[in-house]
């Protein structure tokens, strides 16, 4: 069963320098508070995995903690570019950022393979484009029945997956509802799992369209009300669209970002250790 923990302790125990970390959430339920705790603790040399590395990963990349990004779409949804991401890729600031780049279908299936204990997944994808030759995790297999050549993508098995959910009970059973994205697969693909929740309740109420992750597939649960802000938690909060818009100006400028990091997160930009 999952331990109910303080966020600081849980992050410190579960996430280590050099880990491959997936923080998932498709616009909804993005685990910002946990990411900020990673920044505060200066956990670095991370390989970050996420289908849509939006502002949450822009912040981690800008803080200098990320060596590699595995992703399929990196933008600030509805606003524009991720400037810290671009600065790292284009200019190596504050450190170079290695990329492993996929399509959404490929990333989703990589998590499915990880959750299924398989080394790869099959899809009809990537055909004819330039992506396969840039990635060591895209290959092909031939159907033994039809002879069709299909794309194969390597399984994702993060060291740690972090998600935010609405509720957990005291045994660490986790309940989330609304758009639940690829979170179940990201959790089941990972070696260790940290879940922040809006609320710990005595009993989880069944609810339409939700899903439950049993406590025995979760390592730690931390109660962090508002832990998805500026994204939202259906039933608890709405998306802070102004934050995403304002991020554009903050993130365009290294100095403005550095001030933001110090004042809002309480951390400095890290140099590359290695």
């Amino acid at each position: 069963m999952a331990d109910i923990r303080d966020l600081r302790e849980a992050v410190g125990e579960l996430i280590h320098d050099g880990d491959t970390v997936a923080m998932e959430g498709f616009t909804h339920l993005i685990p910002y508070a946990a990411a900020h705790e990673v920044i505060r603790q200066g956990i670095t040399d991370l390989t970050l995995v996420r289908m849509t590395p939006d502002v949450i990963y822009d912040q981690l990349i800008g803080a200098g903690l990320v060596a590699k990004l595995v992703f399929s779409w990196g933008g600030n949804p509805g606003v524009g570019s991720l400037h810290r991401f671009r600065d790292a890729v284009e200019n190596g600031w504050p450190r170079p950022l290695e990329l492993d780049e996929h399509s959404h279908a490929g990333m989703a299936n990589r998590y499915v393979a990880g959750a299924s204990g398989l080394p790869f997944a099959v899809l009809r994808g990537y055909r004819g484009g330039d992506m396969p030759e840039r990635s060591a995790t895209i290959s092909t297999v031939t159907c033994p029945f039809t002879g069709e050549e299909l794309a194969a993508v390597a399984a994702l098995t993060p060291d740690v997956t972090v998600i935010h959910a609405q509720q957990a009970d005291r045994a660490g059973n986790v309940r989330l509802w609304g758009l639940t994205g690829v979170q179940k697969e990201a959790v089941l693909a990972a070696r260790r799992v940290l879940v922040t929740v809006e609320e710990i309740v005595d009993e989880l109420t069944p609810r339409p369209g939700g899903l439950t992750l049993p406590g025995w597939v979760v390592d730690a649960v931390a109660e962090v009300p508002g832990g998805a802000h500026p994204s939202y938690a259906a039933g608890y909060s709405t998306r802070d669209n102004a934050y995403y818009r304002d991020w554009d100006a903050v993130s365009r400028d290294r100095a403005a970002f550095t001030v933001w990091l110090e004042t809002e997160v309480g951390a400095g930009v890290r140099a590359v250790r290695r």
Partner: protein
Amino acid sequence: MSAAGGATATEAGPDELMEINAARALAGARTCFVGIGLPSTAANLARRTTAPGLVLIYESGAIGAKPSRLPLSIGDGELADTADAVVSVPEVFNYWLQGGRIDVGFLGAAQVDRHANVNTTLIDRGPGRPPGRLPGAGGAPEIAASCGRVLLVVRHAPRHLVPRLDFVTTIGHGSGPGDRAGLGLPGRGPVAVITDLGVLRPDPDTAELVLTELHPGVTVERARAATGWPLRTAATVTTTPPPTPAELTALRELKSQAKEER
């Protein structure tokens, strides 16, 4: 209400006409795979005008979403609340998109070439400079592969309609007729590139994008000057019918609601 550039209270600006044209292109479609931004505007406008029964499928997992206002993001709570079904992201891509259940996919692009191939990955900035980074593929390669047909929406300018892509993110018609079949891409691929000047469509014989439609008042010469390759014209170039008052009202209502909530 501040209407888009060139628009007045009763006449559409070029961006508005592009959006209305995109919605019109959904007439007859049953299902549409919707990305956020212009595709979402067009699809939601279509539900209010040309395609009232259109089923909207968002890659965030909402199937049959019926938002009462324009969603601000692909994961907007309104999508889940109004959907017929909410499924996981892997299921959307595997069972619904790859399963061949979606009639129309919309794609935006940084660069489109003359065979409607798409780049959303990086922009070459010349020797000695690192490429400019774009968001990447998202769902585009598989949307373009598996939807029954694809609509591209892009502003008409030489930097968007280019002779050669800096990176091939997504195959449209490859290097010409037969390429899609050779690659085993199930859908028909791009059937139109809708711009703020008019519409390009693939020539039935060569699969090269040719000018088939112009917004009122736009000349062929202007469209050619805004295209990065020597743009050919179809035998007949039609003029986009001006928006009906109903179309314009519905579009502006949708967009003003979204603005107010921001």
